[in-house]
Symmetry: C2
Subunit: 623 residues, 2 copies
């Protein structure tokens, strides 16, 4: 199970697998308990079998021992069918049929909640039989199909019924028959007991492995989505209900102590399995046939206790993660859009850029993390009045978060302040917020940008415009080009004589990577993007590394190196520019070296300034 | 409560405060319930009073209505004293005195767990009276001091006892007297009942406000640390115990339904308060005197239900946050240390740099997040054999995480692979891991670096050395200096004539920011740091923006601009370098412009290459 790497010596270390192997070795030797015998077929199980599996919410499975040995699911099926019933009939209807109160009684207790005329909870047999009546299907065959489809979605693979165990259970399950008739007698079920038991006994006889149960538990931990297939097995809204009853009733009359000591919602089955769920993290399953007086696997209880204690997994052992909701906070005096700005614009952004703040938000947005985020936004209000919430790293957002952010956006709809959302897709997990913004009065949707760079450039342009400048004005005079500043009039004349005008339309490629570099350009009107191919696995095809407007030059490294172009340059709009032949420039330069020295000095100063800004930006990005 | 900003129009939006005000308005109008009358003094309470407060684990408090009106804490004191007893006597001893089993009985039930000879749980009066016996002190005065100190730590301010309520409760608390004598009779308590009740009645009569209770709840949510004062009120290991019993028993005989529906550990008091805890996020408190038949505040229950439903706060409504444990993954082909490298070294790092991976880890490390991290480390093993775990953003690490990382480090102790920890302090929350590494066989402690840059430079040096190069060799010949490459022999001779040798010792300042820039330097031996002052609120005094070794030059912008130095340059070790007067160089340049053009071309090429690399680095840092 370890990766091959460069040979055994260099196999990746896997401390968790090591721990599991060690745990399996330790508990495999434990004695105590007896194999369940009330179903004759179960009594045949080998008491030495012992398998442990852990599955994470993103589908990694660790396994040790007999983790792939099949056994029947028995009572571990109960929480899944309870979830099914809730999803099918809703919370209220199901609560009328089955309670949620723990009892001190054994799993096969015949005691019922006479006050509410229902079984106490869905984890005891009586409750599970009531739940089994809700399985959809006109015929037994259809009901079996429903069962297998449900459990298959949770396990992430097709499951089957162990017919021998089913027959054995059907032939000997008289206590369950008695329970069913008691319930029929008091109107807690309506269908014929034998019909319901035909479903119930089959549900208990579904064949699974410890790995299956771990994955099924991980699906519960993962808010109902199977971590292997990505398929939803149960609506997220019913997960808390299922975990609540597992927590209070899942270990029968050992549940109180279990919940206090081990503190993990769990369910045990009489074939010797226990499935435990760490919400948001893991499913854990142990299989070992000998069970104790409560009906719980002896080695299973020991293994769960060990895992919980070793890894600190009590439900109320809390990790405070809301703190990381703000990944990074940046200001536009240091962090700029990829629009390269001329000196006057740079001065505006140097002075005013702090008014634009970018908050990189990360992780799921729920109340705790959103509250933190809102608080930071509030604290920024006096200082930064243009705010970009970069949601690229937000994988999900619950209703509470979405409604709080809508309230926030409404609070920002003033002339003095603006709020932009970047990476907020109309589709996908953040779609609710996108729709909410689009439907809000006052056209808040204008504040949604495809990416952060676009939002940042837009806010920069606002600051530049507010300062009475415009980055967009044409620069047809070569003397106004940054690269040529300080040149005497006769040098400018020489350059004018050499300049060849070019016009490009939106989307035209001006420079192609790999081409010979023998011309450099200065922009008189319009703007261009400099872009390079994106690395593999990046969603994008190309990455824009800069955009340039009037007065700026590109391709000037050609003057030094000749060689090949290293990036592609594309017109963002209609572009008018001048091209200079490097060959010709060199000839002129030999006659007038002081002109070349001046151009070099301008170029060096500009590069040096950009390098200095970028060093500061790297520093900001790293901190 | 809102920040002043630029006037009322620009006050920071506060959606959570808005919600709370709205909720207060809605529930303030509710009728139903009656003010508790069994303690005469409590019967005087104004039934219209209603206050709500929410406190976060980092100390932000939201409040609405009568949130600062004092009332007596009553039964809400029980979980705190239970925690106190656990901390004082340990789990086992306390479990022998008080159970953890929910009962269907009312708060003042006289029914006891006869099988184990103890009250059922510490949330009913019997259990709380047993717990009150554990309060430290030889005299009543000392016991009262213990009580007030405990509650003051939780509230973050000194609290006092409402003597009138205490006297009233003492005068009329015959039922509690009966319970105490029953327990004395069966040996569940040993001290004189009146002595214990003197503590118990006072504990119930401590005066708090809704804000206090919210903060006290937030301290429980914050693993026992008061969020206002930063003081620990209860050892973290007992928090799960306290929350478990609150969850199963805190709302008396309404607890089962509460835990299923609302799903938040909570405790109510007969003066009309409810305190609820969202582990890792919040404390919530509501105060409104009218109580229902279970003894729970009517408006309190309604407010908690509304808050829980609106903000999705059910304990088993899980946020899956382990995913964000890796903040960013970087490779040294793109992300480099601040050591500026010459062309040959650059080629080595361009080709081999991917073998060094930096994982920026963030958020608390616990099993779920550490498992994710280990998995990524495992996946990298075939590809990157030098690994830096940058722990700067890890605020805490539990035992499970620390022991898994130690196992990981042991697995990396092979000649083929290396693992370094950056920002792992000997003191503070990560100290356990630091000590574990120091004590591990094989000198793993050598792999701990003060910061990431140091770790990265060390790994880079290893790659460079493995390629048969050394960044450290001296370059006394000017022809070998990068800035002068390609110059004809006669130009080198001219430069040699101008060069003045300098020697600096470790820590010497070579260039001071603000000084006139009239010399530039090339390094023959040793290395220097280029540094700028750190921004305010940064822990550091200066930030190193580069370090340079033999063959590299610094201060060369002086050649172009003259002007002032923009950064400080300090010797990292003994440095031998050559200085060139800019004035003199300019004179020579006028006679030999092609020499200056060549130097400029070298400088431009170098700047341009550094800019390109830095653009790629920014791209990597942003992604």
């Amino acid at each position: 199970m370890t990766s091959a790497g460069h040979g055994p010596d260099t196999a990746a270390p896997d401390p968790i697998q090591d721990y599991l192997d060690d745990l399996h070795f330790r508990i495999g030797r434990m004695s105590g308990g007896t194999v369940a015998s009330y179903i004759p077929e179960l009594a045949k199980a080998d008491p030495m079998q012992c398998g442990i599996a852990i599955a994470t919410v993103d589908g990694k499975v660790y396994a040790a021992g007999d983790a792939r040995t099949p056994f029947t699911i028995q009572s571990v099926s109960k929480p899944f069918l309870y979830g099914y019933a809730l999803e099918r009939y809703g919370r209220e209807a199901v609560l009328q049929r089955v309670g949620v109160e723990p009892t001190g009684e054994a799993f096969n207790s015949i005691v019922l909640d006479e006050v509410h005329n229902r079984p106490f909870n869905p984890m005891v047999n009586a409750g599970a039989i009531a739940v089994a009546e809700t399985v959809r299907g006109h015929t037994l065959g259809e009901r079996i199909d429903t069962l297998l489809a449900l459990f298959g979605r949770f396990a992430g693979r097709p499951l089957a019924i162990d017919e021998a165990v089913f027959e054995s259970e059907k032939a000997t399950g008289h206590r369950n028959r008695a329970i069913a008739y008691m319930m029929l007698n008091s109107g807690m079920i309506r269908a014929a007991p034998e019909d319901i038991l035909d479903v119930y006994f089959r549900q208990c006889a579904i064949e699974v492995t410890a790995v299956d149960l771990a994955v099924m538990g991980a699906a519960l931990a993962n808010n109902g989505v199977n971590p292997l297939t990505g398929e939803r097995a149960l609506a997220a809204e019913f997960i808390p209900d299922v975990l609540s009853v597992m927590n209070s009733c899942g270990m029968y009359n050992y549940a109180g102590q279990w919940s206090y000591d081990v503190g993990i919602p769990a369910k045990s089955g009489v074939a010797g399995s226990i499935m435990a769920v760490i919400p948001g993290q893991l499913g854990i399953a142990v299989f070992s046939p000998p069970i104790d007086g409560h009906g719980n696997s002896v080695r299973g209880v020991a293994a769960c206790r060990d895992i919980a204690a070793t890894f600190g997994l009590h439900v109320f052992k809390t990790q405070i993660t809301a703190r990381t909701v703000i990944r990074r906070e940046l200001r536009a005096d240091v962090t700029r859009s990829k629009r390269v700005r001329g000196p006057a614009e740079r001065r505006v952004l140097d002075a005013e850029g702090r008014r634009i703040a970018i908050l990189e938000v990360q992780g799921p947005l729920f109340f705790g993390s959103t509250e933190r985020l809102l608080r930071r936004v509030g604290a920024l209000a006096g200082d930064a009045d243009h705010l970009i919430l970069d949601l690229r790293r937000v994988p999900s957002m619950d209703e509470a978060a979405s409604s709080l952010l809508l309230r926030l956006a409404a609070g920002f709809a003033t002339p003095q302040r603006s709020l932009a959302f970047a990476h907020l897709g109309a589709e996908g997990p953040l779609g609710d917020l996108h729709r909410g913004l689009a439907e809000a009065p006052g056209g808040l949707s204008g504040r949604v940008f495809a990416d952060r760079d676009a939002a940042l450039e837009w806010f920069e342009n606002r600051l530049i415009a507010a300062a009475g400048l415009s980055g967009e004005e044409s620069r047809f005079s070569l003397a106004s080009i940054d690269l040529f500043r300080g040149l005497p009039a006769e040098d400018i004349k020489r350059l004018e004589a050499m300049a060849r005008p070019f016009v490009f339309e939106t989307g035209d490629t001006l420079i192609r990577a790999g081409d010979a570099a023998n011309v450099f350009f200065v922009i008189a009107r319009g703007s261009v993007s400099v872009q390079v191919p994106a690395p593999e696995r990046d969603g994008r095809k190309t990455i824009r590394i800069a955009s340039l407007g009037p007065g700026l030059s590109f391709g000037e490294m050609a003057v030094i190196d000749g060689g090949r172009r290293s990036a592609e340059v594309v017109a963002r709009e209609r572009v008018v520019c001048y091209g200079f032949s490097v060959e010709q420039l060199k000839e002129v330069g030999e006659a007038h070296p002081e002109m070349i020295v001046r151009i070099y000095a301008n170029m060096t100063r500009d590069l040096s300034e950009r390098l200095r800004r970028m060093t500061a930006e790297v520093e900001a990005l790293e901190s």
